[in-house]
Amino acid sequence: MTITQETVMKPEERSFYYQLFCHYYRGDLLQLTRKQWKQVVQIIKEYQYTSLLDEVAQSLQVLEEVTERNIQTFEYDYNRLFVGPNKLLASPFESSYRNYEGNVLQQETLNVRNFYRYVGLQVANEGQIPDDHIQFELEFILHVLSQPTIEDHRQIYKMFLEKHLLQWGFKHCELILQNSQNPITHAMAVILKEFLQLEGGNKDVS
């Protein structure tokens, strides 16, 4: 049986995941306590479909059971993967995956910028932070999804997803899974990967 995204995920659920990962990549989850992680898992579990998937269920369990030690090293691992100061182990910038040189702020970035501009948005410090940081891409989709007033908002959502996030999201998750040294970053990557999988309609988008 093929499950299509239309049948699987309610718009609300979809929006919730975008919100969750947007917060995650903004660094908002770095300060959570063990108890709060349990709460996050509770919230996630209210959405049944993703929790049906084995791998995700396992990851949720991991998150529920994180130790103090895990929480302590979470930020370090998160920075090693996405922030620095070292060579990034799982760059959060689309252009690192898609630009021929792996440079940031290249043509690919500008393509992303054009999408934002089309709906009247831009990155707050445009030109300083590459527009294709995953945080902004997620936020953009969230914005489009929540603004039915935007003309063609479903088309924009689909196009952006296909032309951008899905083009590199899997590779990004793969890199996290390869390099993660912490159960939280690992679990979040699994959940993100599965979510993108659903977003891609279970098609092999890579």
Binding site: I43, Y116, Q128
Partner: protein, 733 residues
């Protein structure tokens, strides 16, 4: 329908719950630093060009033209208005787009939990300033002064505004400074004794030379733009002689290459001098009128030096010495370029004095196209406004305390009353670049706080508590000159600084602001200011006159680059030397004052012992400048690992074949790297190129001891390092 409603309720609950949990507004609201409504003004999408200046520690200090489209750099190349740069950059300069846009730049201020642990947390600039300022003020309270704060900053960025770091530290009181330079001290002292200071002819004048001797210099790798003029001169008939222990890339282009035993160059110069004296090929009028001590020098040479001795000492056959001496003495003008490598020996300074003497007695000094060219500083007369603020009122003590940059680790450990407790590192990577890095690490261990400002992760950042992200030249404003050519280059801000990077000057202002918040009056450095206003403050009447340009703004509007007046481009043209006598000093009392022989005499070279019989030379590498550039992947695609060069005959003795891993070891340490067999190095010497640190857990300095060269204290405060008097043993790993 029902399901939908359930979902909706759940969603509200879920989403709202998440927001409540995080104590944050919903994403997309104004409070976030994410996406915002588009500003009215659309970003500039037309092509723009800016002038930049390569600020690296390089002879060539290029003027750059940067193409910017949509606020991002699309191409970086040389500026054609600069006749030395000629619109062309060296290979390193061509990688600047990658240096700016590599995802691996240091982006945010960060704090490491546990030095060397790799456990970094992101902090805001305000937090960073607070931690640093509090530590500084605590130190001042505990010790009554700020001497426990030590600055180690050097040559990573020679933008004149970057002296703000020194200025900021001087603005809190007296501190400890890493003093000296690992680079040129012995040779600079030698020239200071002989002529008053080191001062070189414009390198574009290679074209005017009849005869060129490159003495231990390898411009093909370290100064490609000079190499152009040398090659052009050669093609129009100038003879090019290269004297070097290695058949370098430059030596490969010579009309005549002379392989000399390392550290015996002084003997060769003296042998040539003896011949020139015997044959009366020197300029009697010149030595009588413009020099002192010539007679003493003649008696020293006649008594102690013979051409036979020089041949024996240097390994260069007598007829060759005689012929080169004659050719050099009879070609006018004849030009000598002394490389920095040649003086990185325990007798380096005295060897430079001997070569100077050779140029002096043939009256090649003060001539266009001639000269004994080493380094110069005539164009550096800026205001250094960033260093002008002075200690706060009521500061105790009189002066900064100095530790020798060339024996940094040991001297930091030795410093007492007060000990050193905090380290600020900028424009430097001491753990990779200093000799005896393990001692440097020990010194680091003793610190309460280590702050490093840098562009990329490196060994020093790895060992720091706080790292501050800095701008590339393209993201800030500046002004640059060279220690070799005679151009001044404007550096415009071409793009916004990426991420949260700041220039050293902005960091200085930010920290001063915080210090003053915490303790009013604790830092005299301005707490704000526009970068263009800062750079304009560097101009004074001398600079305006020398370059014929009124301001930085005028410079940037008129091609971004300008050459100094002809008058200064021929060193010592007026023959008014800056020595105590005002003349060229074959006999220098100043030298005696600093514990040297008054004359340019030969000092025996440092010798190998039986246990470590092989000399190990670590010259500069063509795809990097010290520890910079080498880690950039564009260059990694050309050469991705370090290697040790050795002569096939030497390799055979140890059963080493091409690419075999070799242990190179001595008392200081060891490293293991693949062999590259080549007849371009002598049989008794191995060569490792300097500055390689990427993907290896060592640097070539692992087996370099902090052995000082003979001179440096007079002009640089400290002696240099005899990098090339390093002896090792090798074995197949």
């Amino acid at each position: 329908m029902l399901a939908d409603n359930v979902s909706r309720r759940t969603f509200l609950k879920g989403s709202a719950a998440l927001s409540t949990l995080l104590g944050l507004g919903a994403i997309g609201s104004k409070a976030t630093n994410g996406l915002v409504p588009t500003a009215a003004a659309k970003s500039n999408s037309q092509k723009q060009q800016f002038f930049n200046a390569c600020p690296r520690n390089c002879y060539d200090t290029c003027s750059i033209v940067t193409t910017v489209e949509d606020g991002r750099i699309t191409f970086v190349t040389g500026n054609e208005n600069n006749h030395y740069t000629k619109g062309r950059l060296c290979v390193k300069g061509n990688t600047y787009p990658r240096i700016v846009y590599s995802p691996d730049r240091i982006k945010y201020p960060m704090r490491q939990k546990g030095r060397g642990s790799g456990n970094w947390e992101r902090i805001s600039w305000d937090e960073a300033y607070t931690i640093i300022a509090k530590k500084m003020l605590d130190i001042k309270k505990e010790y009554g002064n700020t001497l426990p704060i030590c600055l180690n900053k050097y040559s990573g960025n020679f933008n004149i505004l970057n002296y703000a770091t020194e200025g900021m530290l001087s603005s809190i009181g007296f501190t400890t400074r890493a003093q000296g330079t690992p680079c040129d001290p012995a040779g600079s002292d030698a020239q200071a004794f002989d002529m008053g200071t080191a001062y070189n002819n414009d390198p574009e004048q290679f074209m005017d030379a009849e005869y060129i001797i490159l003495w231990g210099a390898n411009p093909a790798w370290t100064s490609a733009h000079s190499m152009y003029f040398i090659e052009q001169a050669k093609e129009k008939g100038t003879k090019l002689v290269v004297i070097d222990p290695l058949i370098t890339q430059t030596a490969s282009k010579a009309d005549e290459y002379i392989q000399i035993k390392p550290s015996t160059d002084g003997a060769l110069a003296l042998g040539m001098i003896r011949y020139i004296m015997d044959q009366h090929l020197y300029d009697e009028e010149w030595v009588n009128n413009h020099a002192i001590g010539f007679h003493e020098f003649v008696s020293y040479v006649k008594k102690n030096i013979t051409v036979e001795w020089a041949a024996e000492k240097t390994g260069v056959p007598k007829p060759v010495i005689e012929r080169i001496a004659r050719e050099y003495a009879t070609s006018k003008p004849a030009n000598i370029w002394i490389g920095f490598g040649m003086q990185r020996h325990t007798n380096g300074g005295s060897m430079v004095r001997a070569i100077d003497a050779l140029a002096a007695l043939t009256s090649n000094i003060g001539k266009k196209g001639g000269g004994v060219n080493y380094i110069g500083g005539e164009t550096w007369g800026f205001n250094y406004h960033t260093m002008s603020f002075g200690a706060p009122e009521g500061t105790e003590g009189e002066a900064d305390r100095y530790v020798n940059m060339n024996n940094f680790g040991a001297q930091v450990l030795d410093a007492q009353d007060p000990p050193i407790k905090m380290m600020w590192i900028a424009c430097r990577n001491p753990i990779a670049q200093d000799p005896e890095p393990n001692v440097v690490k020990k010194a680091f261990d003793q610190m309460d706080l280590i702050v490093t400002a840098d562009l990329y992760m490196n060994q020093t950042v790895e060992y720091s508590d706080i790292v501050l992200p800095v701008t590339t030249p393209f993201e800030t404003v500046g002004i640059n000159v060279s220690y070799w050519h005679y151009w001044m280059n404007a550096n415009e801000q071409a793009i916004k600084p990426l991420y949260e990077t700041k220039s050293d000057l902005e960091i200085a202002m930010g920290l001063s602001k915080k210090l003053n918040e915490l303790e009013a009056g604790s830092c005299t450095f301005p707490v704000s200011g526009n970068l263009v206003e800062w750079v304009e403050k560097e101009f004074n009447d001398d600079i305006r006159k020398l370059f014929g340009v009124k301001s930085w703004d005028e410079l940037r509007k008129n091609g971004g680059t300008v050459k100094a007046s002809e008058k200064v481009t021929v060193a010592w043209e007026d023959l008014k030397f800056r020595t105590p006598s005002g003349k060229y000093e074959f006999f220098s009392k100043k030298a005696v004052e600093y514990g040297h022989h008054p004359l340019p005499v030969f000092i025996e070279e440092y010798k190998a012992n039986n246990e470590y019989p092989i000399r190990c030379i670590s010259p500069h590498w063509k795809l990097g400048i010290h520890s910079q550039f080498q880690h950039i992947d564009w260059l990694g695609a050309i050469q991705d690992h370090p290697f040790v060069e050795m002569h096939p005959d030497l390799a055979k003795k140890y059963s080493i074949r091409e690419n075999d891993m070799v242990n190179v070891r001595n008392e200081a340490g060891y490293l293991t790297l693949p062999a590259k067999l080549t007849k371009t190095v002598p049989v008794d010497t191995v060569v490792m190129y300097e500055g390689w640190w990427k993907d290896v857990h060592y640097t070539e300095n692992f087996n370099v001891k902090a052995l000082p060269s003979d001179m440096g204290d007079y002009s640089k405060g400290q002696r240099g390092i005899a990098f090339h008097d390093n002896f090792v043993k090798i074995e197949k790993a």
